[in-house]
């Protein structure tokens, strides 16, 4: 209030003039700043949105390509394995069979039966690769244990898994998504890491559900994962990303503190997984 005490008319008019101009400049400056700041924020939001859309597009393309690859694999299995087997069985059972002697007839029927059994087994294998029966009937824990036992049984790698807190089964479609993610990660480790062991653990903490994979081979870190996600390569990783997106989950790739192991952590929200998904990825 010191300025109010100014009594000299000349000084009053000067203070009044400068004060008014100053306040006006501040006000207009503030309004202009607000307008431009808001525009800048919106532009930034738009840029972020475009980036997210590009990422979505990459994920969608990866998902479509994987689906096509899966179809091609099933088609190849059916065409290359089941097709020739059934054709051979047909040969054994063709109409000339009636003209042969009884022993040859029996031998041909036996061969055809063997081939049909093989074909049934082949189709069962294809079906199991599409939807593992253990997963459907006994849940994620059994399916993962089964998968790891098979890997260990092959002798190429020491694989073990342990579920610490999995008393209640999740929604079947969510279990399938998590299983596919684990399968993809294990496949990557088998293909690229040259590891001698894989160890999977499951546990929960508060509202979070964790799955951790350790291995001692060559792995990737979060930076590598982010780079691969933005590029056109790394189809499997994009597929993992898009599957986890359905469950609002996250994945982290890191090197263990001891710098000896690579660690992959899948972080999911319990509540999200208890909800049935409107449309699963499978």
């Amino acid at each position: 209030m010191i300025i109010l005490e100014v009594t000299n008319p000349g000084t009053v008019s000067q203070v009044l003039f400068l004060g008014t101009i100053g306040m006006l400049a501040l006000t207009i400056g503030l309004i202009v700043f607000i307008i431009f700041h808001q525009r800048r924020v919106i532009r930034y939001q738009l840029r972020l949105q475009r980036m997210e859309q590009d990422q979505q597009k990459l994920l969608l393309n990866a998902s479509i390509r994987l689906q096509e690859e899966e179809r091609q694999r099933i088609a190849a299995d059916l065409h290359d394995d089941a097709g020739p087997l059934l054709a051979t069985a047909r040969l054994y059972l063709n109409e000339n069979l009636v003209n042969l002697d009884k022993t040859t007839q029996l031998q041909s029927i036996y061969n055809a039966k063997q081939i049909i059994d093989d074909t049934i087994q082949l189709i069962r294998n294809i079906s199991h690769s599409l939807m593992p029966p253990t997963l459907k009937n006994f849940g994620l824990e059994s399916a993962v244990n089964d998968l790891f036992q098979k890997i260990s049984g092959s002798g190429s790698m020491n694989a073990s898994s342990r579920f610490h807190d999995y008393r209640e089964r999740l929604q079947p479609e969510n279990e399938l998504i998590i299983f596919r993610v684990i399968q993809e990660l294990v496949n990557n480790i088998l293909k690229h890491s040259n590891a001698s062991f894989i160890h999977l653990t499951q546990n929960t903490s508060g509202s979070k559900f964790f799955i951790r994979l350790h291995h001692d081979g060559r792995g990737i870190t979060q930076n590598d994962f982010n780079k691969l996600n933005k590029s056109n390569v790394g189809l499997g990783l994009k597929n993992i990303q898009s599957r986890l997106k359905v469950l609002h989950g996250q994945i982290f790739f890191e090197k263990d503190l001891s710098q000896t192991y690579y660690k992959v952590t899948i972080e999911l929200i319990k509540e999200e997984m208890a909800k049935p998904e409107p449309s699963g990825l499978e």
Binding site: I34, Q38, L46
Partner: protein, 224 residues
């Protein structure tokens, strides 16, 4: 000539509001319209009241300040959506009315109620900044200048910022000084009324909606 211009500028917002009634309906501008009416009525009635009832300038200005503050605060209180900021006008009003009452009880010391007018100006400036801050934080507004309320608040903001120093000194002015400095108030009063006219004449715009949010709403089916 200049006073005629001031008089016309007081009338213009009223005319604009009535002319574009459809555009201003459901926009929460009724309070501003009442304020414009009160301002115009004061402009007409003040000389008549002074001559007929010998009412002092002090009481005329003080009464108008109270009405003006009440209406503008009500408008800004209704316009600020953030519940954390809403308590500020309430606290400010308690302070303002306490000061006004104290000032009235003390009796007139000059021709202008400087204290009430200055406190009013400071409080309205604070509320205007709060409103603009809330607008920045609101992601549903893309172009803040596409909303009517922005122009109305800018009008208050510019008017009260520019006349704050004048109101601070007004009580110490001699009648001659008062007359020579009061043109500052008149100029910014005209600017304020022009900004009101812009606000009243503006179309109700949906373009101000944030395209980022709209796109998200479309993509993920989120309700706005």
């Amino acid at each position: 000539m200049f006073y005629l211009l001031v008089f016309i500028s007081e009338l213009l917002p009223v005319v604009f509001y009535v002319s574009f009634l459809r555009r201003n309906r459901h926009e929460g501008l009724q309070v501003v319209f009442i304020y414009c009416l009160a301002s115009f009525a004061t402009e007409i009635l003040a000389p008549a009241l002074k001559s007929a009832f010998n009412v002092s300038d002090f009481y005329l200005y003080a009464s108008f300040t109270v009405i003006e503050y009440s209406l503008l605060t009500l408008f800004l209180y209704r316009s600020i959506q953030d519940s954390r900021l809403k308590y500020v006008p309430i606290v400010g009003s308690v302070v303002f009315f306490t000061l006004v009452v104290a000032n009235f009880l003390q009796g007139r010391t000059s021709n202008f109620d400087s204290l009430s007018a200055s406190v009013e100006a400071i409080l309205i400036i604070i509320y205007s900044i709060m409103f603009l801050y809330a607008q920045i934080k609101d992601p549903s507004v893309l172009f803040v200048y596409n909303t009517k309320k922005f122009w109305v608040v800018s009008a208050f903001f510019i008017y009260f910022s520019s006349t704050l120093f004048l109101f601070l000194y007004a009580a110490t002015f001699t009648p001659k000084e008062h007359k020579s400095y009061w043109y500052i108030n008149n100029i910014f009063d005209i600017i304020k009324n022009i900004l009101f006219c812009i606000a009243f004449a503006m179309k109700k715009s949906d373009k101000s909606k944030n395209p980022v949010l709209e796109s998200y709403e479309d993509s993920y089916g989120i309700e706005p």
